[in-house]
């Protein structure tokens, strides 16, 4: 039988290293790259006939108009009506301290429509959030993640009393935190904006990862009755190996679907979907990995320590 948990130290080191890289980048970047949704700010995207305008000129024009600093970028996206030509977009971003009011937004849109090559009859895409709402949304999202974790600890704690439930649940949570940290690391390294989509992805991964861990725990629960003569490490390893086909097959089907989505979104330039699929791919992989190499061995190490302590206490 393959030894899945013997090399646990290396796996702990690998995870710690990945998270450390994330922390390093966090320090370099000076914090997370919060999306305007969680921080405040304005983004306006307008369809253009072509990209024959100068972004810098637009920037200075708008600054003259409303007296606020803006950043203008050229973007492209997939055109469902004419697949050979992508849609040219003018993307205008305003930082949180300068969040535009509804009137300013309309002034900007009207100005661009008048002065630049804006496609007739199209609607601009606008996202504008006042900073205080952004902070509120961010806190709400963090609260949701916190509550979800707490409820999971309680549920798993109740269901896995045989495995001394609460500790099993807590190590499951350690694995979840691990997955979230890995996802955050990837986000900081690639400097991807953190927004609601990201929180949805993290919560999905929390569910998936716990799901994965539970399948292994479930096997341990079953085997602890069947294999009470075997030593702990053998029993735990057997359980991991027995549930391995399931872990791998489910990972394969889930990755298959999300990777398809990611590939489509990348080819056709659908940024919002790409932003959703990417963290899921990272999280799913991390979720399966952490169930096998983080949650289970950690629980086992703790259990071993408890048994040892019990024996020592008995001797004294």
């Amino acid at each position: 039988m393959i030894d899945m948990i013997g090399k646990r130290k290396y796996m702990f080191i690998l995870s710690a290293a990945l998270i450390l890289i994330g922390v390093l980048f966090l320090l370099i970047n000076g914090g997370f790259n919060w999306d305007i949704q969680f921080e405040g700010g304005t983004i306006i995207k307008i369809e253009m006939y072509d990209d024959s305008y100068e972004a810098v000129t637009v920037e200075s024009d708008i600054e003259n108009l409303i007296g606020k600093n803006v950043t203008v970028q050229k973007e492209k996206t997939f055109n469902p009506d004419d697949q050979s030509n992508s849609i040219a977009l003018l993307s205008l971003k305003v930082a949180k301290d300068n969040t535009l009011t509804s009137e300013e937004i309309n002034a900007v849109v009207d100005f661009l429509t008048l002065e630049y090559n804006v496609k007739a009859g199209t609607q601009p895409q606008i996202k504008s959030v006042e900073p205080f709402i952004g902070v509120e949304l961010r806190n709400k999202a963090l609260m949701a993640a916190g509550w979800a974790m707490l409820l999971i600890v309680i549920y798993v704690g109740i269901r896995f009393r045989v495995m001394s439930g609460v500790s099993a649940a807590l190590f499951g949570i350690v694995a979840l935190v691990h997955d979230a940290l890995i996802m955050l690391s990837v986000y900081t390294v690639f400097n991807i904006p953190v927004n609601e989509v990201f929180v949805a992805a993290i919560l999905t991964i929390i569910g998936y990862s716990m799901n994965d861990t539970i399948v292994i725990y479930d096997r341990i629960r079953e085997n602890s009755a069947l294999m009470h003569k075997a030593d702990l490490e053998t029993m735990v390893n057997t359980s991991v190996v027995q549930s391995l086909p399931r872990t791998i097959n489910t990972l394969v089907t889930t990755l298959l679907t999300i990777t398809t989505l990611f590939v489509f979104a990348t080819i056709f330039n659908v940024e919002s979907i790409r932003q959703f699929a990417f963290p899921l791919i990272i999280g799913l992989t991390s979720g399966s990995y952490s169930s096998i190499f983080i949650a289970t061995p950690l629980w086992m190490v703790w259990r071993k320590y408890r048994i040892k302590k019990k024996i020592l206490d008995a001797k004294v």
């Binding site: 937004i105 849109v109 709400k140 479930d218 089907t253 298959l256 979907i273």
Partner: protein
């Protein structure tokens, strides 16, 4: 009790015992098999044809969120110093007024929900196509129609509107009557001319009487503003103390209706400002929709191929269950009158991957049992039984996160959470009922006795 006629046992037809014909064990299997097939067929047919009686739309006509069809979502906040002083009642009144205002502009497809806890209104207006209405402008007009005032003005202080050529008096501080002093305002025809008829509240009538008494000798104008925006400046032709007045002028029917609406619904306790605006163009939504739909179809095919390759006969059954699962998610979204959003479709795609998990757990278990040398039917039974607690625990945890997401998420993310929740519940049901019934019946057939069909090394099972 006394009135209840006593039944004569001799007259009871059912007491003539006739042994129920015992179903052959095989028959039960095939009845269940048929039910399972019908269930899958039901969901697939439902979403293909739609069932207006059940409130279920065809898949191509299921309501889509504004992230797909385009539109505006905005969060409107009271423009006051202390937000805690805003009462639920005030918010309710504002909601009603704003709804009337939106509808007065010919927009009926919208959704406004008050958030009493945070003292704000969430407004969603989908883009209706044809370019007739611009949702972003609708929200702007809501803001424009903030505070209605009748003010005395200095006839010498005016500007000429470049577009209309009309004289517009500059706003002063001399506010005579305010919006909430007006009981009703409507556009009527008087002497064949569009006219606005006003009725004041008791307090308003008094104020109006005072100001008209002062102004009528000079026939001075009493100008109407929304915030500082000039609307109209009728001259006071007489002392009006009846609490009722008309505004005559050279306006068109539409203009009269527009001004009447502003007078009628202009009375907000305080102004509301859009502090969060999210406007999505239909083009971008459509482009994202077509990409995600194609991705969903490819993902479904890939997973089906994987399941067929990996699990053979049970794989076929799982694929059928998967098609039923996807159809049922769309069915329930439609039945709950929810919208399909882009994250929602992403949720369906994710469910395609995770939905087979229950099957994978069961099938791996069945394989293990077959390898142990147990009979096929028994292996299947044990497989389902053993897998049950695992599937239950795993699903409950995912359900918890889905629920948390549904509670805190905004529009599109709620859509994702909803598909995730429906997907989990339906995949649980699909795996433990539909797939089980299908598989057990098929496994009873002689043709499918070989272990090969279950992904175990070729060898005839007992």
């Amino acid at each position: 009790m006394a009135n209840k006629p006593r039944r004569n046992p001799k007259m009871d037809y059912s007491s003539v015992s006739k042994k129920e014909p015992k179903l052959k064990p095989g028959a039960k299997l095939w009845i269940r098999f048929s039910v399972a097939v019908l269930l899958v067929a039901f969901f697939v047919v439902m979403i293909l044809t739609g069932a207006p009686g059940l409130g279920v739309a065809k898949v191509s006509e299921v309501k889509t969120g504004i992230d797909i069809r385009g539109g505006v979502s905005a969060t409107l906040y009271p423009d006051v110093d202390d937000i805690n002083e805003v009462t639920d009642d005030q918010l309710r009144i504002i909601k009603g007024i704003l709804e009337q205002r939106i509808e007065a502009q010919g927009t009926f497809d919208y959704n406004m929900s008050p958030d009493y806890e945070n003292k704000r209104l969430l407004l969603e207006i989908p883009y209706s196509g044809g370019g007739s209405t611009n949702p972003q402008k609708v929200i702007d007009d809501l803001g424009e129609m903030a505070l209605l005032t009748f003010r005395e003005v200095d006839p010498e202080q005016y500007v000429i509107n470049e577009v209309t050529g009309a004289f517009e008096y500059l706003p002063t501080d001399m506010i005579a009557v305010e919006g909430y002093d007006i009981e009703s305002a409507e556009a009527v025809y008087i002497e064949n001319k569009p006219t606005i008829a006003l009725t004041f509240t008791e307090e308003g009538a008094q104020k109006f009487s005072d100001v008209t008494k002062r102004l009528y000798p000079t026939k001075s104008p009493l100008a109407i503003y929304l915030d500082d925006q000039f609307i109209s400046a009728p001259n006071v032709e007489g002392w009006i103390n009846s609490g009722e007045a008309i505004i005559r002028g050279s306006f068109t029917v539409d203009e009269a209706i527009d001004i009447a609406n502003k007078l009628q619904y202009g009375a907000l306790p305080f102004a509301m400002a859009a502090k969060e605006i999210n406007s999505i163009t239909p083009t971008l939504g459509e482009s994202a929709l077509s990409v995600t739909l194609n991705a969903a179809i490819v993902a479904l095919i890939l997973v089906i191929l994987f399941m067929l390759f990996r699990y053979r006969l049970p794989g076929v059954v799982a694929s059928l269950g998967l098609i039923g699962l996807v159809a049922s998610i769309i069915f329930w979204i439609s039945a709950f009158n929810a919208s399909i959003t882009l994250p929602g479709i992403a949720g369906i795609i994710l469910t395609i991957g995770m939905g087979v998990d229950a099957n994978v757990i069961i099938y791996e278990r069945i394989k293990e049992e077959i390898r142990r040398g147990i009979g096929l039917q028994e292996a299947i039974d044990i497989g389902f039984k053993r897998a049950f607690s695992t599937i239950l625990d795993a699903n409950v945890t995912t359900l918890i996160t889905g629920g948390a997401l549904y509670i805190v998420g905004s529009g599109p993310i709620k859509g994702f959470a909803l598909t995730l929740i429906i997907g989990i519940i339906m995949s649980f049901f699909t795996a433990l009922v539909v797939v089980k019934w299908l598989l057990k019946a098929l496994a009873s057939l002689k043709v499918f006795k070989s272990k090969w069909f279950y992904g175990v090394k070729k060898e005839v099972a007992k």
